[in-house]
């Protein structure tokens, strides 16, 4: 029994390792099992994790090859495996995002104006850059009314989420 359990766990870990390798490889341009440190965020996101920027920085600090700007798979693998096993940065349920938007939309209008959103996203939390802000606005503002219906936005983005 214990053996079965152990082998099931091992299977699980193997599967996780494969997953991590598959996510790492596309960024390993020179086939040296290293990636640029600036790609780590994207890799983590692609593994269905939702870290904050602070989380990413912390993670990098653990795995980077002494400020070389690169991360080797040898160090990435155990750290990332831990993250996945512990489910450290789980996906955010829709309801939570909804609540978050509601904090901004105090009057519960169901939408937010581009200016409000911009101020919010670029001043609070881990601020968006101008580029990120522009992208969000261009993609999701209702052109006629010039507002953002956040329930639609949430539906759209979560519909694209991995199954």
């Amino acid at each position: 029994m214990a053996e079965d359990k152990e082998s099931a766990e091992n299977e699980n870990i193997l599967a996780i390792h494969r997953k991590i390798t598959a996510a790492f490889e596309p960024f390993d341009y020179e086939s040296k099992n290293t990636v640029d440190v600036r790609e780590i965020g994207t890799i983590m996101y692609s593994l269905d994790c939702f870290p904050t920027q602070a989380d990413i920085r912390e993670f990098i600090a653990e795995v980077e090859e002494n400020s070389s700007g690169t991360v080797h798979l040898d160090r990435f693998m155990p750290a990332m495996t831990k993250v996945l096993l512990e489910n450290k940065f789980p996906p955010i349920p829709r309801s939570k995002i909804f609540q978050a938007f509601k904090v901004l939309d105090k009057e519960q209008k169901g939408f937010v104006e581009p200016e409000e959103l911009t101020k919010f996203m670029m001043e609070e939390g881990e601020p968006f850059t101008q580029e990120e802000m522009d992208e969000m606005l261009t993609a999701h503002t209702n052109r006629k009314e010039n507002v953002i219906y956040y329930d639609k936005l949430i539906n759209k983005l979560t519909a694209d989420a991995p199954k």
Binding site: E30, V37, A54, F101, F120, E124, G125, E126, P162
Partner: protein, 803 residues
Amino acid sequence: MVHCELCRVPDDGGDCMALVQRLFDQKLSSLPSGSQQSDLHLPTQLCRIETKTDLRGGIEANHRTVMGCGVSKSNQFHKHSRKAIRAAVLIQRWYRQYVARTEMRRRYTWHIFQSIEYSGEQAQIKLYNFLGYLMDNFTPSSTERNLISHIFRENDVCWDSEWERYFCYKNIDVPEVYSGPHLTFPLTVEQAVGLLEAFRNKKQQLHSRYVLELLLETWKLLRMLPNINRISTCHSKEVTICGDLHGQLEDLLLIFYKNGTPSLEKPYVFNGDFVDRGKDSIEILLILFSFMLVYPRDVYLNRGNHEDHIINLRYGFTKEVLTKYKIHGKRILKLLKKIFSWLPLATIIDQKVLVLHGGISDSMDLSVLTKVNRHNYVSALRPPKRRNHSSASMSIDIDMDDDLWSTSKIYQRRPSLTYPKPLGPRECFHNRSLQDFSTRIKANMENELENSKKSEVILAAVLHTSQQDTLSVSTDSVSSDNAKDEWRQILDLLWSDPMNQDGCIPNEVRGGGCYWGPDVTEDFLNRHNMQLIIRSHECKQEGYEFCHNRKVLTLFSASNYYDVGSNRGAYVKLGPDLVPYVIQYQASSMTRELTARQSVGRTERSALKVLREQLFAHKSDLLCAFKKFDTKNAGLVSLVDWASAVESVMHLNLPWRMLRSQLVTCKTSDGMINYYDWFNELAIKGPNTDHIDQSLLETLYRHRSTLETIFRIVDTDNSGFISMEDFRQTWKLLSVYLKMEITDEDICNLAETIDSNHDGSIDIDEFMEAFRLTDKKSRLERGRSMFMATTSDLSKLEADPNV
């Protein structure tokens, strides 16, 4: 103080407690000092929050009264601020994850298109090699040879005066009903601009008489140009350099709109690949040629690998010309064949910047290239034959000591192995546009095993024919080494791509094209005392990309190349300081403006459709691969095994696991995939194809481009029809090439399917349509040309016998 529900900040890990606290503290400390503790001196910002009437405030007030926990104003601020911060952090990380995922999708979508594009090019080269081999080894009397020999024939007419006579346009009348531009020579700038206007606004086609006249004048000019043009940016004149246009007239119009048309003050260099794939290749040529005639010292054209009639057969230019110019198309194509061979090979600016289409190699020598007779290289894929040899079998490149057709020597073009676009500073790793997966592409679709089997079959076929006839391949040619070297350099110039690693990976027998590394760039630039290489040839998402320490610049000017929204185009301005200044753009007439993220969805769907078709086309091989994993013969494989099997057959190095959900919708509950069901999902059915053998259909589908190319080659008079007999011969050719057996019965069944009226001829287009073999995504198919808007327009043109 008692902390009740509302004022306690909930601790559930997912809300990044520590972070929120830290950000909150940061915020507090950034407020004017002395205000943190005081209830009375809240900063205006907070007052605003405080005094805003909202439900929450109301609830809190109530709450305060009821619970009596004495929540103070500053605590409210704290609470609200924390809430705001928490909400912001949540939204931000949620949104950034979405952005990163979208970026991944964009990259593999790009990869799909690129790998399919390149494998198509490779298939074309293979086909050409195969046909060339047949040419060199079949006797003059063999039927197969006669079918294809005309594409290898040197230009029928050798002497220039005969050329002029052959292309005499003077007897072509322009009817009164023609409302397009009338050209008189020598051309003036007003006429060139008028041509531009006609194409842009009125969408008119230039009459074939003027086309021929224009082409003749162009040819006369090109003949006088050296192989390598040298220009200078004196008097602070900036040179504008454009990359591949590929028949996308809209992009050229956009460049002229943004940058102005060519003139004495505004010199231009166009870096090849003007034609193929897009739908207005001929119009682009006509515009470029006319401006060149008006400003011969200020408009420079470099040859690209698509300025090649063999490539044009496959990639749409031949078809476009024949469609637009039904009567005189063939003549126009012949003249273009000559013109392409006369296009200069490269341009050097201020002796310091080299502009050429493909790239360099470690053996490239500009002094050799300066002296070469470039017009002998009608198609870069085949070395020139000396003029007076007999047409039977002398080939200066095939050495009988080499393997006849060994796989490793087949030219393979893979996407460039360059550095990704430079990433931003370390802090902003949440947004980027990164390099695609193209560096990881390995071999092409057809595997090595298949190829080596093919070579055996060909050998057998050849030996069989040779029993009656003698093979006479001569290895004797006086300057064959020199010629070989020249040819290799031209091929490299037109086809090479840069890579990350040092070195130069050449190809062997065909000697064509290579991957060159940063050390080769360094060495080349030093040797020639230059500082920058500007080249094109590869599509880049931003329209341009630097590599090799910014010493090589790739420039691509066809935006939305793979699909709407797939990439931007770019052009470069170079002043006397020789610092390249890049301008980007994206033609957007087809749809409203989309952000890069939005357009991913569209492009992704296209790419996946193409990918599904490719998977279907490899069904037999996939089935074999699956069966190896399916030891219990249950028709099921696990996800992991599915991914491995697919990769082992397709060799595209794609993240199959990620793609799986988009490619396979049927799945059993325990996560296994029923691959028979999957094939049913993928199946593409043509009408009434039940009587056709499934594996034949699959082969047809996989090689449809090759099939169509061969049809067009065989269709010597370019009528769009081939005789039944030639149809049969085509299949014989194909069966050798693909090492497949195609029986006479098969051929009859195929002919029947398209319901030819048994008059002895087969309509090529109809045939391709019948088997759903036309690639609906091809640009030629998709939007109709600007010049064929409606059927009534078409019939108007047809009424004019001279167009």
